[in-house]
């Protein structure tokens, strides 16, 4: 490719077309064939060469991918603009497109050169070798535990949920004083009492809550009424909401 690009170059390129990676690759090859600095290549000459190659490919019925033909159409447009007399809008558009093309070719050229530069570097594992059997002085200490309160709480809740699911159901023991309990207690205590005694004296020991106390009081009242009905006890209340008094039945029938 020492002489200026010409028909023979185009002919030879047609045969190698499949070896190119696309239209841009071919254009760069053609530009390099001009043996000029890429900044000073003749875009018009380049376009003509490309179109000649495509024409040649058609003549030998080489099947071309679409992007080759798209580039050919675009270059044909570019050529028509570049042939216009300078100064018109269309001619300027052509100039601009030609510059863009030149810039793209320059960039591809630069990247090709970078790739060649890289490939020429002594590569690790190819040209230079590092130590293949490195020594490891790192010691793994797994003794420390990661302990965080949130994890502890999650674990506790998980344990309770799981435990709850499996535990047998046990009814809560009855803690409220029942009427039966009160009847038994009244029966046992009443015989030994000489006179009126306030109802709350009959309540059992150790009533912790107000609820338990009220429940025991009403149970004891019911028990007292029950005994009075059977004739075993007398009840009396001197004032509304006053203390309710109780004594063993004497037969006088006061309520």
């Amino acid at each position: 490719m020492a002489e200026a690009p010409s028909a023979p170059l185009a002919e030879s390129l047609v045969l190698r077309l499949e070896g190119f990676e696309g239209p841009l690759d071919l254009l760069l090859e053609l530009a390099r064939g001009q043996k000029l600095d890429l900044a000073r290549i003749s875009i018009l000459a380049l376009v003509e060469q490309y179109l000649a190659v495509i024409e040649g490919a058609r003549r030998v019925r080489l099947e071309l991918a679409a992007d080759w033909l798209v580039m050919a159409a675009w270059l044909a447009w570019l050529k028509s603009r570049l042939l216009l007399p300078a100064g018109t809008d269309d001619a300027e558009a052509g100039e601009e497109a030609a510059e863009t093309l030149a810039a793209r070719l320059a960039e591809l050229q630069a990247m090709r050169a970078a790739s060649v530069w890289l490939a020429a570097r002594p590569q690790l594992g190819q040209d230079v070798f590092a130590r293949a059997a490195p020594e490891n002085f790192a010691e793994i200490d797994r003794s420390r535990l990661i302990l965080e309160v949130p994890a502890l709480l999650r674990a506790y809740l998980a344990a309770l949920r799981r435990g709850g699911g499996r535990q047998r159901y046990r009814p809560k023991p009855m803690t409220l004083w029942s009427v039966q309990d009160a009847l038994r207690r009244l029966g046992a205590m009443l015989g030994n009492l000489p006179d009126w005694i306030s109802l709350d004296q009959f309540l059992p020991e150790g009533l912790a809550s107000a609820l338990e106390r009220r429940a025991a009081l009403s149970a004891t009242l019911l028990a007292g009424l029950e005994m009075a009905r059977g004739g075993g006890a007398d009840l009396r209340q001197d004032t509304p909401f006053g203390p309710i008094l109780l004594r063993p039945a004497t037969g006088e029938g006061e309520t």
Binding site: E135, A138, R142, L147, A155, A158, G163, G165, Q167
Partner: protein, 187 residues
């Protein structure tokens, strides 16, 4: 390398052979046998002599040429091992069962093993207890006055320290934790 002393002044080993041997032994994944070395040395070079000369050159340096099964290799000098050592801490998490057990002990202490099992609704392996004991997170604290006098378990000061708690009161109260009652009579 005891035998090097006699050969140390061996003048026949050319520098080029030394360089090649040095590079080969350095880059090889496995120890290099004299036979393998001989394959790339010039014909008139005795592999053993080159190895001996190289060992001499490296004597006393940070890297030694040592004889191991089947050949020689470079190895960092043993006296530097301590200085080169880096300890990498990889903390681990407690297994789930251990964490649950620890949580139950924290909230119910002092508590017997069978009580823990009842709360979790699953039996408790000795391995789990051992994990917590070895980590110093729990300790036994007396016995329950019940048939068999089972051991009572409680958390330790190390437990508080490791969880960053000033005291057990720093843990949220059970009532605050249990938005929904997890089970009827579950505690």
């Amino acid at each position: 390398m005891s035998e090097n002393d006699q050969k140390s002044t061996s003048p026949e080993v050319p520098e080029a052979a030394l360089r090649l041997a040095e590079a080969f032994i350095f880059a090889a994944a496995e120890p290099v046998s004299p036979r393998a070395l001989g394959q790339i040395l010039p014909e008139d070079c005795e592999a053993e002599a080159v190895i001996a000369a190289l060992a001499t050159r490296y004597a006393g340096r940070g890297v030694d040429l040592v004889h191991v099964a089947g050949g020689v290799r470079f190895q960092t000098a043993p006296d530097l091992a301590l200085l080169l050592r880096r300890v990498i801490e990889v903390p681990r998490r407690l297994p789930r069962v251990a964490m649950e057990t620890l949580a139950i002990i924290a909230y119910h202490q002092p508590v017997t093993r069978s009580e823990i099992e009842e709360i979790r609704g699953a039996s408790l392996s000795q391995a789990t207890m051992d994990t917590l004991l070895e980590a110093g997170l729990i300790t036994s604290r007396g016995h329950k006055e019940a048939p068999g006098r089972p051991a009572l378990w409680a958390t330790t000061a190390a437990f508080l320290a490791q969880f960053g708690l000033a005291d057990l009161g720093d843990l949220p109260r059970r009532a605050d934790l249990l938005v929904e009652a997890p089970s009827p009579g579950g505690a």
